[in-house]
Each structure stands twice: as structure tokens, then as C-alpha cells.
């Protein structure tokens, strides 16, 4: 079992959380978005080895937040509420 930290609730069991995607992968806007840009948004993931920034949601309280963690050792560095995080 691993504990993740919800910015509102504090440490909770990892099973209470759901992955929401890479932070910073913003949906393209406008009618003239190229196919490559859509493909990048929909399918192309960075999948980094090491430090990564991701969007997660705590299913019980509904808090969306940015989690900074390490994909190698699974260590969680920070959890920041989405409205105060630089996720763009």
C-alpha cells in the first residue's frame, strides 16, 4: 500500500485516488488546430523516467490536484491543489 497526499484531506490510501493524465497537456482550442497537434494532445505521452507532474483526483472528496512524483522509486514529492498549481 502507498499513501498519496490529497491537498485537502491529507494522506490517504492510494486506492482512493484516480490518475487524470499528464499535467500541462492542455486541450487545443480553435478550429484551425492541425492534425499533428490533436494527435499530440490525444496520443503522445512523455512517459518520463524519473520526476513527473501528473493530474490526480481524490475520488472521495473530488479534489483535483497536481502530484509531483518519481516514476522510478514512486516517491511523491508534492501535491498541490489544481487552482493554485502551475499546471499549464
Amino acid at each position: 500500500m502507498q499513501l498519496f497526499t490529497c491537498p485537502f484531506c491529507g494522506p490517504r490510501d492510494e486506492t482512493e485516488f484516480h490518475f487524470g493524465g499528464e499535467a500541462g497537456n492542455l486541450r487545443p482550442d480553435g478550429a484551425d488546430v492541425t492534425a499533428d497537434r490533436w494527435a499530440s494532445y490525444l496520443y503522445m505521452r512523455d512517459n518520463p523516467k524519473g520526476a513527473t507532474r501528473e493530474i490526480w483526483v481524490h475520488m472521495n472528496c473530488g479534489e483535483f490536484f497536481v502530484m509531483e512524483r518519481d516514476t522510478v522509486n514512486h516517491k511523491v514529492e508534492t501535491s498541490i491543489a489544481l487552482d493554485s498549481a502551475e499546471h499549464a
Binding site: F8, C9, C61
Partner: protein, 179 residues
């Protein structure tokens, strides 16, 4: 055509349902008025005169009217009597949803309550958490203390599952206590 009804556990008679083993008694609570208040909880506090913050996980609520925090901007208000507030959106900045029929409430008491908690969740009941919403036996529930008892609110559709889970847990707790 197959009768799929037999696959489902029969819903207990909540008026009489009870789980009793040495050190643990669980029953269903009837007649509670329950409201989800969402949005600007400070505005709710000004209008209702109630605190803007509810108790968190395993926090201690008291009295016949209290609130349990569900999320940063949502709380479950519980009252023994109906509140005199209109459901729906209030222009002060909050919404009120009546969920009395949507949530089933259970109450557990006895010296083995801590053992029930230990089997239901990994959350440390002494650590505290801002939200009373947590996974209890795998179901999303609102869990807090009321007096010296434990109260659990769960979606009514999951109430039968949670009841059968608690029956099994209670049997196992009793067996473990016997050694």
C-alpha cells in the same frame, strides 16, 4: 428467462436489522434528515447560523444537528428534524440538496468498534483528516463519531453490501476475540 434477482442479497428490514456480537453492536438509523450543502460554505454559515466547517474523518459530532465535511466546498448536514431551508440554489452562493433518501446511515458502538474500523479502512482514526469522506469497506462513505458511537453514511444502493460486509466482519471479530 433467468431469475437474476436470486443473485442479489435480500435488502434487510432496516427498522429491525441489527448486528450484535460481544463488544460490537451495529444498527441502522432511521429518520435522519440529510442535506448536501455545496458552494460557499461561509455564506451557508451566515444564512443557517451553523458552523462553516464540518467534522472530518472520525471527528466528533454532537447534538441533533451537525455537519460532516465531505469536500473543500461541500458538507453533509445531518439533523434529527427537517431543516427549514429550501432545497436548490441560494443566491448567497451555495446549493442545498436533500439526500435523506439517498444515504443510509449506520451506527456502531462497543469496545470492538476500533477493530471494525481497522478492517474497513487503512486510515488512522486518531490521525484526523479534513474530510469525513473515505473508503469504508471499499465503499465511499462519510464516517465520523457521534458521541461515543461511530456513524457511517453510505449510498443507499451500497447499503446492503456494506451491511453484509459488516455482518461478516463482526463474525470474524467475535471469532478472533474468542481466540
Amino acid at each position: 428467462m433467468r431469475n437474476l434477482a436470486e443473485k442479489w442479497a435480500v435488502v434487510p428490514d432496516w427498522q429491525t436489522a441489527a448486528i450484535e456480537v460481544p463488544g460490537l453492536a451495529i444498527r441502522s438509523l432511521a429518520g435522519l434528515s440529510q442535506y448536501l450543502v455545496s458552494g460557499d460554505l461561509d455564506a451557508w454559515s451566515k444564512v443557517s447560523g451553523a458552523p462553516a466547517k464540518g467534522v472530518g474523518a472520525f471527528g466528533k459530532a454532537e447534538g441533533e444537528r451537525y455537519a460532516a465535511q465531505v469536500a473543500r466546498d461541500r458538507m453533509l448536514v445531518v439533523s434529527a428534524a427537517p431543516l427549514g431551508i429550501e432545497p436548490g440554489w441560494h443566491e448567497e452562493g451555495f446549493g442545498v440538496t436533500v439526500v435523506s433518501a439517498g444515504l443510509q446511515a449506520f451506527e456502531a458502538e462497543g469496545s470492538e468498534t476500533a477493530e471494525l474500523i481497522a478492517r474497513a479502512t487503512t486510515l488512522d482514526p486518531s490521525a484526523g483528516s479534513a474530510s469525513a469522506a473515505l473508503s469504508f469497506a471499499g465503499a465511499n462513505a462519510v464516517v465520523y463519531r457521534h458521541g461515543d458511537k461511530l456513524r457511517i453514511h453510505v449510498d443507499r444502493g451500497l447499503a446492503t453490501y456494506l451491511w453484509t460486509w459488516m455482518e461478516t466482519a463482526a463474525r470474524n471479530i467475535a471469532a478472533a476475540a474468542k481466540g
